[in-house]
């Protein structure tokens, strides 16, 4: 062994992602305009230049729909942004949406090799950039197979339904989407706020589907106006896809849940996003938000509700979450944005009662402090209440964002459709087919509340499953 030390190799300090311009926090809390402003051409190319173009890229395996990430980034480096957009669209029909709302930090970017020493390549921001670039310049329709004379009904127009519809239309199917609401888009229009996902982008995607020949029937609550069996037997659909999501809000089993100023996040966000209550009285739907708002939960829904309350004029907004920051299921960017905007985090805190006055108005919320114990089935450490640690949060509005369950309307009106004890629909993972022949399902109605991209992936798989099923059936005849 030599005493001589080798001259230390000069390592560059770890790099960070090229920052994306954003609205200033103090300004944006007064408006509903988009927070993140997106890369310019220069910023996008600079970020893309950093990509290692790995021979065996890992990022793709982190993407539920396997976007050819390496290839689209290479096209950005060449300045072929339209080509890059087309590349993404080969596997992801909603890139402008995914670029904005996917939890990249646990998916593609988590696998990025460049990210081992540095911040990973900003794949989400690049995806968003090319999708916006292409949308603004007008995209051409892809090739559509000649009509094959087969008809498919899609129930629900969230990301699962939209994706399934798009893929089938391209294969030549006659596709009808039935949507319960008056506007298509599912959570993308009623849940996720304008400042995170402008509704115009969702409308463009829906418009694209219509140009592909997909028919959209709004105000159709399947299970009420028409059953799945009627669609198959009386209305001549050859197959049905159920993508009705997990839209049924959960409440806590504590006193005070029905007080006047207690909202489900679904109600609060639907009033504001779908019904445009933030423009009241120009729009007729009102929303009430007090001075001090407590939002219960730690997911994206909770962050959206909290930041929406702030924008509607609340003076102080608290996130009340029973575990610690590490366990929060929200996207990191949303938590950071919420914090920058001044949302206060009451972590390791669990509500035990919402307090009301004689008129039913909320006057506070009693909570108990928690500590983390052993990991539970989900692998997260189980929160346990600390005895005698009760305290009261002074608030006048409570928003409950502790998760949503599957909507039971379709399962309860479809005999023979197998469901789990949580009310989710059981499917064959490969084909997406349910226990009923010719009936497929995917998205939150199968997995329980999950993500946009996983719903899209499920819609894609089901489209493939439907195509195989109907092709086989036809060949037999």
């Amino acid at each position: 062994m030599s005493d001589e030390k080798k001259p230390k190799r000069q390592r560059k300090p770890p790099t960070k992602k090229v920052p994306m311009p954003e609205q200033d926090p103090m300004e944006r809390i007064h408006n509903f305009n988009e927070v993140a402003l997106g890369y310019t051409v220069e910023l996008a190319v600079a970020e893309a230049e950093k990509c290692l173009q790995c021979r065996n890229p890992r990022c793709v395996s982190g993407c539920p729909v396997e976007v050819p990430i390496k290839d689209f980034i290479a096209l950005i480096r060449e300045g072929d942004f339209m080509g890059a957009a087309a590349k993404i669209k080969e596997t992801n029909s909603l890139p402008a949406i995914c670029g904005r709302v996917c939890p990249q930090e646990t998916q593609c970017e988590a696998k990025c090799i460049y990210g081992i020493r540095n911040e990973p390549i900003a794949i989400g921001r690049l995806e968003r950039f090319v999708a916006d670039y292409a949308r603004e310049r007008g995209e051409e329709l892809p090739e559509i197979a000649p009509k094959n004379g087969l008809r498919v009904a899609i129930v629900g127009s969230g990301p699962a339904g939209l994706t399934c519809a798009g893929d089938l239309a391209k294969l030549g199917y006659e596709v009808t989407i039935f949507e319960a609401f008056h506007k298509p888009g599912g959570v993308l229009v009623y849940g996720i706020p304008e400042f995170r996902l402008p509704k115009e982008i969702v409308a463009k995607e829906v418009d694209y589907l219509e140009r592909l020949g997909v028919e959209i029937k709004c105000n159709y609550v399947i299970g009420k106006i028409r059953t799945i069996d009627q669609l198959l037997n009386d209305d001549d659909y050859d197959a049905v896809f159920i993508g009705t999501g997990a839209g049924h809000p959960n409440f806590l089993r504590i006193p005070g849940m029905n007080l006047v100023d207690v909202y489900s996040a679904n109600e609060f966000l639907t009033r504001v996003n779908l019904m445009k209550a933030y423009k009241f009285p120009e729009y007729d739907t009102p929303v009430r938000v007090g001075r001090r708002v407590a939002v219960i939960g730690g997911g994206n829904v909770a962050m959206d509700a909290a930041r929406t309350a702030l924008r509607l004029g609340a003076e102080e907004v608290f996130i009340v979450y029973r575990r610690s920051r590490e366990e929060m299921p929200a996207r990191v960017e949303e938590v950071d944005h919420a914090e920058e905007e001044g949302i206060k985090f009451q972590l390791l805190t669990n509500p035990v009662e919402v307090l009301g006055d004689e008129k039913g108005n909320v006057i506070g919320m009693t909570c108990v402090r928690m500590k983390l114990g052993e990991p539970d089935e989900s692998g997260r450490r189980r929160p346990i209440p600390i005895p005698n640690s009760e305290f009261v949060i002074d608030c006048d509005t409570v928003i409950v964002a502790i998760g949503n369950s599957p909507n039971p309307i379709v399962p309860s009106t479809t005999p023979g459709l197998e469901t789990t004890k949580w009310g989710t629909i059981v499917i064959d993972e490969e084909t997406g087919m349910t226990s009923r022949e010719g009936v497929f399902a995917g998205g939150d109605i199968v997995t329980g509340a999950a993500t946009v991209i996983s719903a899209m992936g499920a819609g894609k798989r089901a489209a493939r499953g439907i195509h195989e099923y109907l092709t086989k059936k036809r060949n037999k005849q």
Binding site: A180, F181, H182, C218, N219, Y220, V221, K224, I225, R226, G247, H248, P249, F251, M257, N258, L259, V260, D261, Y263, S264, N266, E267, T270, R271, M275, K276, F280, P281, E282, Y283, D284, T285, P286, R288, K359, G360, N407, P408, I409
Partner: protein
Amino acid sequence: MYKIVRKKVLNPVVKLMEVSAPDVANVCQPGQFIMIRVNETGERFPLTVADFDREKGTVTIVFQEVGKSTRLLGTLNEGDYILDFTGPLGRPTHIEKYGTVCVVGGGCGTAIAYPVARAFKEAGNYVITINGARTMDLLIYRKEMQEISDEFYETTDDGSCGVHGFVTTVLGDLIQKGRKIDLVFAVGPAIMMKFVAKTTEPSGIKTIVSLNSIMVDGTGMCGACRVTVGGQMKFACVDGPEFDGHQVDFNELMGRLNAYREQEQVALELWEKEHGGGK
């Protein structure tokens, strides 16, 4: 878009519209409701099915002009279109032969009580109806109700027509006299339903009420319509709108119905300013 094929003014504040919606008309049942949005800036609000014609493909709604949205709807005429008309939602009324059924309708609620009373009659029940309003001008469906009833009563708060008093005055009387009633069905203002339930409670007569909660979607998605029934949280839109009146927490319901009082006032005043006092 759903075309209004017939409009009728029932009284100064209540209007009837027959709306073309063949797929809804095809399947709707008494007791179910429709979510309506009049125009692009409109809010979604529920109206119970007042009647339907499967052959013509129409659904009839009857509404009282209370706030901006119902006023706006009231300005539409035959040949005009309602933007969104979603239904049928909620569970239908459970109709069977009970024996004697007393159907109570208050104000505009009578329009909803009517098809229910008719269905009870068709199922072979002896039907007593009580039709109440503040004053004679506000009584609706008088002839229709009478025609399908075995016994028919009217009440007005001011005594301008029928019995001077409330629907509960007549109902209480019937019970007092020892009339055997097997079921009471009541629909109208929350306060009326509360007192109907109070009136029947001592004698344990099964009492069904049809709740008019605030709703945003009407499909179980928002929970705005949640109500405590028998100590449990229920959603009026999917678990109801009809519940056992003796189990409903009416005080909570009325509190929640008033949630948007102030905003409703703002919207209404603005509307009146823009439309020169409405009408």
